[in-house]
Symmetry: C2
């Protein structure tokens, strides 16, 4: 659950405390769970229970080198209602380990629907039948396509909960150029969105509560993104498995160490397998390697 005085201040404090800017991406595939973990957990062998056991082991191994986890909601949604239970369990384990939670769902919708998503992601929802708990995330990724009013609808719920948003600005996939890079007469589309991100944010501790997803695979955009969003926290996917290089990310850290959060998922979870060692040991070592590298840059 988010803390009072959340947003940028919360994040900056947590980054200093943990000496880490690494975000552990949690994208579990039931066919690629760590061998042994499911059996050792003693849980009933349903896909959702197995996924939860795997994620808890991953958090235990790699969490100490990280400042946050970023569960990919799609990976839990495909497991149905038990997947939602598993997601709640994973978020709780992360919080118990002192990690922030960034819910990666890339939602975007109009007024009441955006508020409903935000209730689900953050503080929950009061009904005549009682309170329904939300995920208690500290931040969530959102999609800006439908306009500033849709982002404001998210903010109207996230901000009172002390939580932040990360708006998709310039993403790390090959097709990102199709629309995000289109010229608009006053910069590329993603630059217009970056300006909106800058306008929407409230700054505390030198950092805005509205951050931006800026792919680590396109480091040529980072300088410009920083110029347009001087106080935004950049969530930087694409390191590792997607081919981005953490050493090129230095501009992200201009407003301070917490100005750039480096996310890595498969490169951490599968490091043991790739090196032929124990998966937990591999994940721990790779997360720590990334932590040291990013810390030396920012």
């Amino acid at each position: 659950m988010s803390e009072p005085g959340g947003g940028g201040e919360l994040l900056a404090g947590r980054v200093q405390e943990r000496r880490s800017q690494i975000v552990l991406g949690i994208d579990p595939d039931p066919a690629k769970l760590w061998p042994g973990v499911v059996e050792a957990s003693g849980v009933a062998a349903t896909a959702a229970a197995a996924v939860a056991a795997h994620c808890l082991a991953l958090i235990e191994a790699a969490g100490p080198a990280c400042v946050a986890v970023k569960p990919q909601l799609a990976c839990f949604e495909r497991l149905g209602a038990p997947g939602r239970e598993a997601l709640g369990e994973v978020c709780e384990a992360a919080r118990d380990a002192g990690l922030l939670v960034i819910a990666d769902g890339k939602r975007g919708d109009i007024d009441v629907s955006a508020a409903a998503y935000a209730a689900s992601l953050f503080g929950g929802f009061d009904t005549p039948y009682g309170h329904v708990a939300g995920l208690g995330a500290d931040a969530a990724t959102v999609n800006p396509y439908m306009g500033v009013d849709t982002l404001e609808s998210f903010l109207s719920t996230s901000r009172p909960a002390g939580a932040g948003l990360f708006v998709l600005v310039r993403t790390s996939n090959p097709g990102a150029a199709d629309f995000e890079d289109l010229p608009t007469g006053d910069g590329a589309l993603w630059e217009r969105i970056a300006s909106a991100v800058d306008r929407l944010g409230q700054v505390s501790g030198g950092l805005s509560d509205v951050g931006a997803v800026v792919g680590a695979t396109a480091p040529e955009h980072l300088d410009r993104a920083r110029e347009l969003m001087p106080t935004a926290v950049f969530l930087l996917p694409g390191v590792g498995a997607q081919g981005g290089d953490v050493e090129q990310l230095a501009p992200a850290f201009a407003p301070g160490k917490a100005g750039g959060l480096v996310t890595a998922s498969r490169s951490i979870a599968q490091a043991g397998q790739e090196r032929g060692i124990d998966p937990a040991e591999g994940a721990r070592a790779e997360a720590e390697r990334l932590r040291e590298l990013a810390w030396s840059l920012g």
Copy 2:
């Protein structure tokens, strides 16, 4: 569950069979359920169970005048894991009533994540622990911001399942102009996306399996949208509560009656309340009024 020979052909057949182009939007708010329905259902009074009972009554009342339902996933997600169960129950009831299911989640993500969302929305997911059922939707709304590759990732799962997509093109909210209408040197952003929608679709029965969300609140865009997407099915939100006028939608129906699907949510669910009559009777009458009006246009 979608049928073989799905996409445009399935939809066109169903529209003729039911003589309706009306899509019943299902956006349940636990504080605004039909009085009496929850008590009469005899279910335990949890928010999710109450919502499910309400939705089933709504489908029973308004469904006969409709061709499809469009559950707003946010409204179910905010109810946690029981909300996912309720959503499954509502989709099943709609199918049993002969209605198609359009899952309104506006998802958008890269490769594996898009495929995970698609598994969740359509045919489900095989795991080493057994098959996990999907929602079995016949179509879903998706967000194009991240690029054509992200839409293709959805298609790679939806198309084999015989299901369709509705890509957000020009939405009905006031902020839609912020980014969707930006000039790109070769039309507005939404027009570029419309062209991509046209290229991505496979046509059967005269209709593409990749449709477009085009807001009924901006009828001035309909002619141009139809020019750019001659075979796309238009999902037309914004009628009723959002201020759109069904009589201005005629261009949507150029490729045939199934070329335009008129969605209405609150204007149907709350019709009884507004007219001071029984909610089910009000919903039935309003859905039938919209059905007759749209059918006369298309």
